[in-house]
Every structure is written in structure tokens, then in C-alpha cells.
Amino acid sequence: MADVAQGERRQLAPPVVDTGVLGWVRKNLFSSWGNALTTIVLAVAIGWILANFIDWAVINAVWTAPTGQDCRGHGACWALIHEKYRYIFFGSFPYEQQWRPLLAIVAMLAMLILSSDRRMWNARLLWIWGVGSFLTFLLMFGQIHISISLILFVALGVGGLGMLMRGAVGTPAEVNGWRALAAIGAVGLVLRVTGVLPAWSLPIAPFDYVETHLWGGLPVTMILATYGLLFAFPYGVLLALGRRSKLPLIKGLCVGFIELIRGVPLISLLIMASVMLPLFLPSGTTIDKFLRALVAVILFAGAYIAEIIRGGLQSLPKGQFEAADAMGLNYVQKTALIILPQALRVVIPPLINTFIGFFKDTSLVLIIGIFDFLNTANQALVDPNWAGFPAEVYLFAAFVYFCFCFSMSRYSKYLEIELNKGTRR
């Protein structure tokens, strides 16, 4: 008992509370003198900025006014947005028909939202995108004429793909079905080329035809980003497979192409598409300006997608390739049935990030005179009646872009965690 302390012992202070509101504040905001000072300086600065911003954007703002003159001397001129929002969202699309681009936006949003649900990741997705795309372009163009050659070509393509991929795994009846489809397409195309079948097209014309140079605003941005990436996807996959190929010529071609595209800015491709594409084609063919921009975006996106997919391909263990070879699958079957389903699953989150990038980068098309969302916002500033309020319009446009990009980046983050649940420790 000798080591028991003698006499009075100094009482230690109780430990500092680090639970509850006070504890949280102490731990996260005032843990040291330096921290406390940072907190106070930042709080004052943020408070001052916010107070001024709210004063400008809400309290002193003008919400409706006949012309910009009535906004002078006040805060934000939201009346400008109120006046011009139809133009900013839909561009020069005929005014009475603007419900069409609105519905097209809704259709594209519905497609994107439906595809974000993992329960939809199966054959249903093809139907959603087929029907949705058809609706989108029908609404935008107003009339679509589907030529018989196109129908036959699609039959040949789908049938051929079915034969290649299901040849070794499908039931004989199914494989024969694909063969029949491909045969119909091939025979039909030959008959069409030799002139036995007449030039005929299926006219679907419920609305007035609207040319692409009248398109503008948000639908243009969404179409360029969505379909640019959608069309770039298969060719990006081919480039990635080519880059991983053991055949030297194929590999060289793909590496050269990918590095060339990734080494130059998108603007140079857009300028090239707008001035050089007409030179590339036989004289007399004119190519739509919107289509030129889409071609440039597709060329550009393909190279970036290829690099992402290559990352997915490289992440697969070698055993997957060897096992597929051992089962006697040919290259197409091995790639389509074993390799790509696993590789693509890994790259979905980075692909969404690329999509966000392209959603923003499509704004560059304004340089070659396409009226995307940023360009229509820009044009809204030109009106002399409303001159002098750039901040309002750009902040509004920035807000719309932010809503799209932020929600997509959150979704990509969620998906990354969700898809890795099986492999996470």
C-alpha cells in the first residue's frame, strides 16, 4: 500500500466535451487559435459576399420589366431572363411549335433517367433508346422519311451481329432467325442496288418540317452531347480493341489515330469539320452544319472513350482471355460475351464523367456558328433593349449547366460505390 499517493492530489480538469453541438463546433471550427482565426475571417468574408449577393440577386432584383431601361439602378435584372427564356432554351425554333423541343428535352431526360436505373440495364435499354431517340428526332425534325435501303441495311446489320454473337451459344432456331434476317437484308440491298426494288421510303410526317439551322438552345446541347457520345461509343470500343490487338498494322493505325485526336484541341477539329468536310466530299454534296459539328464531336469523343475502355480492358485478369480461348470461342464471341461485359462494367463511372465533360465541351460549337445553349444565351445579350446585363444571363446559363453536371457527377459517384460493393473489403 506504499505506492498509494499521500496527501491531497491535484484534481485534473474534466476532458473537453467533444459531443453535441458545442463539441462539434469546438472540434471542427475552433480546435486551435489558428483555426479559430481562419474560421472567423472566412465566416466574415462569406457572410459579406452572401449578403451582397442576396441583396443584388433577390432583394433589389427586378423580376419583370418591359425593357432593360427599367432595370438600371436596381439589382439583378431577372426580367431579362423572364423576357428571353424561350429563346435561350429553344433558339429560333418556330415560336408556336416550341412545345416540340420541350417534349424532346423531356424525352431525352426520360431516357437518361431511365438508363440510370440499374434494373433497366438489359435488353429493355435498347427499346427505351430506340423509341426515345425516334420520338426526339421526330419532334425536332417534325417529319422523318425512313428509306427502304436504311431498313434493309439495319436488317443486315442486326442479323449479322446476331449470327456472330449467338452463333455458338443460341438454339438452332434462334440462329436460323438471325440468318434469315441477315439474308433478307442482303438480298434486299442487292435488289435495291440493281434497281429491282423501287426507291421508296416510309413517310412519318405528323408536324411541319423544321431544318437544323433553326434548332437551338438546350435540345441542341443535349443532342450533341448524348448522340455524339452514343455514336462515338461503338467506334471507341473498336479503337480500344484495336489498340490492344496483337496485329501490328491495326494497332499502329489505332494508336496513331487516338493520339492524333487527343493531342489537338476540339476547336481545331470543329474548324476542320466546318471548312474541310465540304472539301472532302464529292462536289455537289452539301452536308448540314449541325451534322458537321456532330461528326467532329463523334471523332473527338471516340478517341477519349477508347482510352477509358482500354483502361477497363487492362484491368481484366489474363485468365479471362485464356479461359475464353480454352472454351473455343472465336475472337468476336470472346470479346462480346466474356471480355466486354466485364470491361465495360468497370468503366461506367469514368464514362459518365466523360459524358459530363462532353456536355460542357459541346459549348465550343458556338465557334462554328451552331446555336447551342451557351450561344443562345450569348445571343440574348445582343438585343439593344436589354444590353448591359451579362452577369444575369451567364449566371442563369451556369445554373442550368450546373444542375445537369452536378447531378450526373453525384450519380457517377453513387454508381462507383454501388458497382464495387461486391469487391470491396
Partner: protein
């Protein structure tokens, strides 16, 4: 004998169309032939179209007189110079924006990225807000917004904000005095170079000494003394010549001094703000990828929070950070081409004027592509070399 017999029997006779080697080559030849056919189709169309539209070809136009003004030039340029020189001016402007942008975005991005990991909740949240705000809105929109704000919010030259009669801030840019060219400047430049080289030598010596004895050396103070002090001493020895060119209002604009133009400011600011958000995310994920034990061990040996970051975490995170950072540097270089949208005369803008004046699109686009490809490749080559240098040397 048996083995030989087995060998001959198992080597099955493969038909040529089933031999993977032959198949591979046939496939490659077909693909290359198709690509060649496409190229031939495009080239022959182009030649035909060029002849029909009577567009000249070849690079002879480069020696003709450009005849257009360039607002910002690092080398002497006038409209009577050749197209080649105009394009060179554009290229130098691109490089100027790219180099400054890379340095500033790295510094700002690292600060924001480290700030996001701060124990101070408010600071971390502000940095997070910054990243999300700049990352999720197109760069072009930021450029327009900043450029329009500069030209709308600042007064005209006559009402310029005047600081001490030497700095004039207006919607034409920031005018400020510069020294008039003097022969001593060359020697000061040389002294600066010597200072930089001496700093490198001192740093190497200091590291060697610290490795051997553990004694730190005030490298940063020495570096400042060498790099700033040497040119200053030369200047003082020459009697401190201080003839300055002062900006002054003449008519509708300023004359004299030098100017930072609003286009340049908007482009650089936009690029730096936008890219630093991406850099911040790279730095943050690089630091988060390190094992927690690194922080704990560093704190256990008594380093302060700043020292933990500077001496332990950042040097290790650098290895993770460098490859994605390279692609951000390439992005800055490529994105500087957005200059054309706000009227800054970079390479693409200069070449675009040339296309409109000469009509020779193909040659000009080849020039753009070649220039960007060589700049991109140089940056990647340098970063790959740096990456190798800092890579962990294992057994």
C-alpha cells in the same frame, strides 16, 4: 522414335483459312486497304474540289504579307510582316498562356485540394464549393462571364481607376509603367540566370549536408537572396538607372507604359480557375490514397500539421498525382485555344484569320494540328521524365 511419331501426328494440317497467322495478316491487309481507299476517296475529292474552286495549295502563302493587326505580341510584329510571323506570334501567345496557366493552376489547385482536407470544417466546405462550382460549368461560359464582367464593370479609359498616377485600371486593361530598355537589363538577366543556377547548386549541397549531418540549411532564404539579390546588386552598381515609360491618357486610350489586356486576363483567369478545380481533386485524391499511418507516424515524431503536409504527405502523394496532372496540363494547353471566343490572338485565332484571308484551310489546319501535337508531346515527354525521376526506386 515414339516421340517423333507423336510429333508428326499431332501437328494437324491446318487449312490456310483457319491458320490464325494467315488470317491475321489477311484481316490487316483488308482493313489497311479499306482505310487507304477511304483516304484516296477523300484526297481525290479534295484535289478535285480545290481545282474547281481555284484554291491555291502549298505553303507559299506563309511568305506573303499578313496585313492584320495582332493586339498582343511578345515579339516585334506589324501588319506588314508575313503570315509565318503572325502565326509565330499566335503560337508564342498560346505558349505564354499555357505556361502561366499551368503554374498558377498548380499552385491554386494544390492550395484548394489541401484546403479540402483541412480540419477546419468551414474551410473544407468552402473549398468543396469552389471545386463543384467551377467543375460543373463549361469553361467557355466562365470565359465569357469574366470577360464581360471586366469590360462592363470597369470604367472607360477616361474614368480609369487611378492608383498613384502610375497604375490605370479600365476596361482597356491594366496599364502600368515599365523601365525603358537599358543595356544593364541584359546583365541583370544574366545575373538572374546565374542566381537560378547557383540556387540549384546550393539546394543540392544543402540536401547532401542534411543527409549526412541532419543539419537543415535555410535554402529558401538563400534562394531569394541569390535570385533577387544578384540582379539588384548589378542594378545598383550601375547607378540604379530608373528611366521609366509612364502610361498617360492620350485621346481615347493610354499611351506609354505597358498593358495587361482584358482578353488575356479573362483567358488566364478562366483557365486557372477552371483547371484548378480539377487539380484540387487530383491533389486531394492523391493525399487520401496514402495510408493513414503516414500522417500518424509523422505527427508522432512531433511534426506540425504544415510540416506533415509539406515534408511527408505531399512528396509521397506526388507520385500518384503526376500522371493525372499531366493530362490536366495538356488540357490547359488545348483549352487555351478557346481564346478565339473572347478575341485573344492565340495560335488558333491567328490561323483562323489566315484561313479566312487565304482560303487555304487544309495547310492551316495542318499547322494548328502540328503545333498542338508538338507542344502536347513535349509536355508529356517532360512529365514522363519527371514522373520517372520521382518514382519510388524499389529493388
Amino acid at each position: 522414335m515414339a516421340v517423333e511419331a507423336l510429333g508428326t501426328t499431332t501437328r494437324a494440317k491446318v487449312a490456310p483459312w483457319n491458320d490464325p497467322f494467315i488470317r491475321g495478316w489477311v484481316f490487316q491487309i483488308v482493313v489497311v486497304a479499306l482505310v487507304g481507299l477511304l483516304a484516296w476517296f477523300l484526297v481525290s475529292n479534295t484535289i478535285e474540289n480545290l481545282e474547281r474552286q481555284k484554291i491555291a495549295s502549298g505553303f507559299h502563302y506563309l511568305e506573303r504579307e499578313a496585313g492584320f493587326e495582332i493586339g498582343d505580341s511578345m515579339i516585334a510584329y506589324s501588319p506588314s510582316d508575313t503570315y509565318a510571323r503572325a502565326i509565330l506570334v499566335g503560337l508564342l501567345n498560346t505558349l505564354k498562356v499555357a505556361v502561366l496557366g499551368i503554374i498558377l493552376a498548380t499552385v491554386l489547385g494544390t492550395m484548394i485540394g489541401v484546403g479540402r482536407l483541412s480540419p477546419n470544417w468551414l474551410l473544407a466546405k468552402i473549398c468543396e464549393g469552389y471545386v463543384e462550382m467551377f467543375r460543373n460549368v463549361p469553361l467557355l461560359l466562365w470565359l465569357f462571364l469574366i470577360y464581360k464582367m471586366i469590360s462592363e464593370a470597369f470604367p472607360g479609359p477616361r474614368q480609369a481607376i487611378n492608383v498613384l498616377d502610375s497604375f490605370f485600371l479600365s476596361n482597356r486593361g491594366l496599364y502600368f509603367p515599365v523601365p525603358i530598355a537599358d543595356p544593364i537589363h541584359k546583365w541583370m538577366g544574366l545575373a538572374f540566370l546565374i542566381g537560378v543556377i547557383a540556387t540549384f547548386l546550393v539546394k543540392r549541397w544543402a540536401k547532401k549536408r542534411q543527409d549526412a549531418t541532419g543539419q537543415p540549411f535555410p535554402t529558401i532564404k538563400t534562394a531569394i537572396a541569390l535570385i533577387v539579390g544578384l540582379p539588384a546588386v548589378i542594378w545598383l552598381l550601375d547607378g540604379a538607372p530608373h528611366h521609366m515609360s509612364w502610361p498617360a491618357l492620350k485621346g481615347f486610350n493610354f499611351e506609354g507604359g505597358t498593358v495587361i489586356q482584358p482578353e488575356f486576363t479573362a483567358l488566364l483567369l478562366g483557365l486557372v480557375l477552371y483547371t484548378s478545380a480539377f487539380v484540387a481533386e487530383i491533389v486531394r485524391s492523391g493525399i487520401l490514397a496514402l495510408h493513414k499511418g503516414q500522417t500518424e507516424a509523422a505527427m508522432a515524431i512531433g511534426l506540425s500539421r504544415g510540416q506533415v503536409m509539406r515534408l511527408v504527405l505531399l512528396p509521397q502523394a506526388l507520385r500518384i498525382i503526376v500522371p493525372p496532372m499531366t493530362s490536366q496540363y495538356l488540357n490547359i494547353t488545348k483549352n487555351s485555344s478557346l481564346a478565339i471566343a473572347i478575341g485573344y490572338p492565340d495560335l488558333v485565332a491567328a490561323v483562323n484569320v489566315t484561313i479566312n484571308q487565304t482560303g487555304q484551310a487544309i495547310e492551316n489546319i495542318l499547322i494548328i494540328m502540328a503545333a498542338y501535337l508538338s507542344v502536347s508531346l513535349s509536355i508529356s515527354a517532360f512529365m514522363n521524365w519527371y514522373n520517372k525521376r520521382i518514382a519510388l526506386t524499389e529493388r
